[in-house]
Amino acid sequence: MADVESPMAGLLAVEDLTVAFGRGSSAAAALRDVSFALRRGETLALVGESGSGKSLTALSIMGLLPTEGQVSAGRVLLGGDDLLRKSRDDMIRTRGSRVSMVFQEPMTSLNPVLTIGRQLTEGLQFHRKVSRAAADARALDLLRLVGMTNPEARLKQYPHQLSGGMRQRVMIAMALACEPDLIIADEPTTALDVSIQAQIIDLLLDIKERLGTSILLITHDLGVVAEMADRIAVLYAGRVVEIADCLQLFDAPRHPYTEGLLAAVPRLDLLVADGADRIRLAELPGSVPSPGERLSGCPFAPRCSLAIERCSAEMPPMRTVAEGHTAACWVRAAA
């Protein structure tokens, strides 16, 4: 059932990933049958709102699920290895060297009592077993790579001496330190001002182009997606509901949730266009279901204007609606 593209150029394949919180009869599935694939050199955006499971997906890939949660089914294949079957030690070696992560909040993700230089070299010395001097030299290169001004001085500074944008650059430099194949960027620009957000987006695009690093971008912000993504997977209440190329998804979304989401965002370009007199925004009724609410059918059915009887009884499978475009909807993606 998992509609995974050919693994030829595939770097990461997540197959039927199911994560549950709690045990026994009261266990609640936070992720259900999540499947997607990420090609080498590609940026895939996981788009979703609160409770969609986008961050949980990232944590599952990194093997960093909170203790209350456990993977109850599925595989996470990185270049052929199933990360979920790896031992703890193996996973520690994988994190940071083959997969690394950029977090949303650069202040809390950096250690406040260590210098930038120390934090940058730590991973290198652990994973690559390089000498102190070599690590320092590499740290300097990394800071230049991410466009830090005055990199020599920055090495000796502490996180609180840097601005938010600079801290996020350091985070990205740390993620790049061991030249990973994949960077997971979890809301990398959400905490930043618009102008700094633009700088970080450009930096990530630049890195992807120059180093060929694949990026799994996790965000709720459709603007960031429109700027960065090659392909998009839309998550809703722990399920993937649509996957498509970026343009295809924006031009011809097939899942009613994707459609609703795109229509609900005020678009600057349309709002200031001629003759438009305060266009009413399209509303999605209701709110995102909480993880505890178990639904037998499509999780979006209660908010969906197109819902038919079958929707609340049975979860629609992902069906191909066009080349490279799959959606899970009984109405819009019928066989």
Binding site: E49, A198, R267, L281, V288
Partner: protein, 336 residues
């Protein structure tokens, strides 16, 4: 414009904060969080306030709400100086102006039921009591799309969007003329934001409300605002009709800010756009010249020595830039 008297006037409002000095240090010069800000908001109109963090928009809101007083300048509502109100007059002022806060998770007291939260302003101002209060609370709740059955619940039992509806109902309880909304949707899920924005638009139409709408998200500002003011480091650098300012910005900061806004559609992607360089300085020790000069790609010698005063451009707006006429237009596609 033969407009009626403005609902709100800010006349050269400034706010300075004394800097904490170290034990033996010399007293530092105070920080100007808001610097000579003037604007009017007409009845039934939305003024959007745009700016990045630290630009002074929240301090401005606090001065309008009289939660803090301007160091110099005046805030006028209905021709009365808000900053000079006697303590006994402040209560009455609270019936004219209300506020919607950013985070509905933190701005509603977790230990008070929704119905009591909505009813409290009416009780404080003696507008209703007993059974009448209850009917009016239920009525208000209905206006913001909450059912009366939910009013016995505590805030944590509501979703973010519902909580913001409670906050809106609470603000409407005293039937104010003006509402200051500080980032009212930024803490909400994307799919819920439209509901709250539409509700605010509807309420504006039905009640003739004036909004001061503060947001860093230019898309939402564009949706709700008739006029837009762009703030940088405590001062308004450009103010004018929303469409003009957002489509053809004349201040270089406005233009770079708009260029930095992520595109709405991947087809509009522009690689290697002009990025606003550097970051907002912390506002200490502003020199003699234009406050934006250190980051401005157009800055010239004159900008570094002489601070520009706001001047009228195109007849509809004020821009604080010596070279506003030379500001290049936005690249095609970015704004319609």
């Amino acid at each position: 414009m033969n407009a009626p008297a403005p609902a709100l006037i800010l006349d050269a409002v400034s706010k300075e904060f004394a800097q904490r000095r170290s034990l033996f240090g010399r007293p530092a010069a105070p920080v100007r969080a808001v610097d000579t800000v003037s604007f009017v908001v007409n009845p039934g109109e939305t003024l959007g306030l745009v700016g990045e963090s630290g630009c002074g928009k929240s301090t401005l809101a606090r001065m309008i709400l009289r939660m803090t007083r301007p160091t110099t300048g005046h805030v006028l509502v209905e021709g009365k100086r808000v900053d000079a109100l006697l303590p006994s007059e402040v209560l009455a002022y609270r019936r004219q102006i209300q506020m919607i806060f950013q985070d509905p998770y933190a701005s509603l007291n977790p230990r008070i039921r929704a119905g009591d939260l909505i009813g409290e302003p009416m009780a404080i101002h003696g507008l209703a009591r007993g059974a009448e209060l209850e009917t009016r609370v239920a009525d208000l709740a209905a206006q913001v799309g909450l059912s009366a059955a939910m009013l016995g619940r505590y805030p944590h039992e509501f979703s973010g969007g519902q909580r913001q509806r409670i906050a809106i109902a609470r603000a409407l309880a005293v039937s104010p003329r003006i509402i200051v909304a500080d980032e009212p949707v930024s803490a909400l899920d994307v799919s819920v934001r439209a509901q709250v924005l539409n509700l605010m638009a509807d309420l504006q139409t039905s009640r003739g409300l004036s909004y001061v709408f503060i947001s860093h998200d230019i898309g939402t500002v564009a949706y709700l605002s008739h006029r837009v003011a762009v703030m940088y480091l405590g001062a308004i650098v450009e103010i004018g009709p929303a469409r003009d300012v957002l489509r053809r910005p004349r201040h270089p900061y406005t233009r770079l800010l708009l260029e930095a806004v992520p595109v709405a559609h991947p087809r509009l992607r522009v690689r290697r756009r002009e990025v606003l360089p550097g970051e907002v300085p912390n506002g200490v020790g502003l020199g003699a010249g234009c406050r934006f000069a250190p980051r401005c790609p157009m800055a010239q010698e004159r900008c570094r020595v002489e601070a520009p005063t706001p001047r009228a451009i195109d007849g509809t707006r004020l821009v604080a830039c010596h070279f506003a006429e030379d500001t290049p237009d936005l690249p095609k596609g970015l704004a319609a």
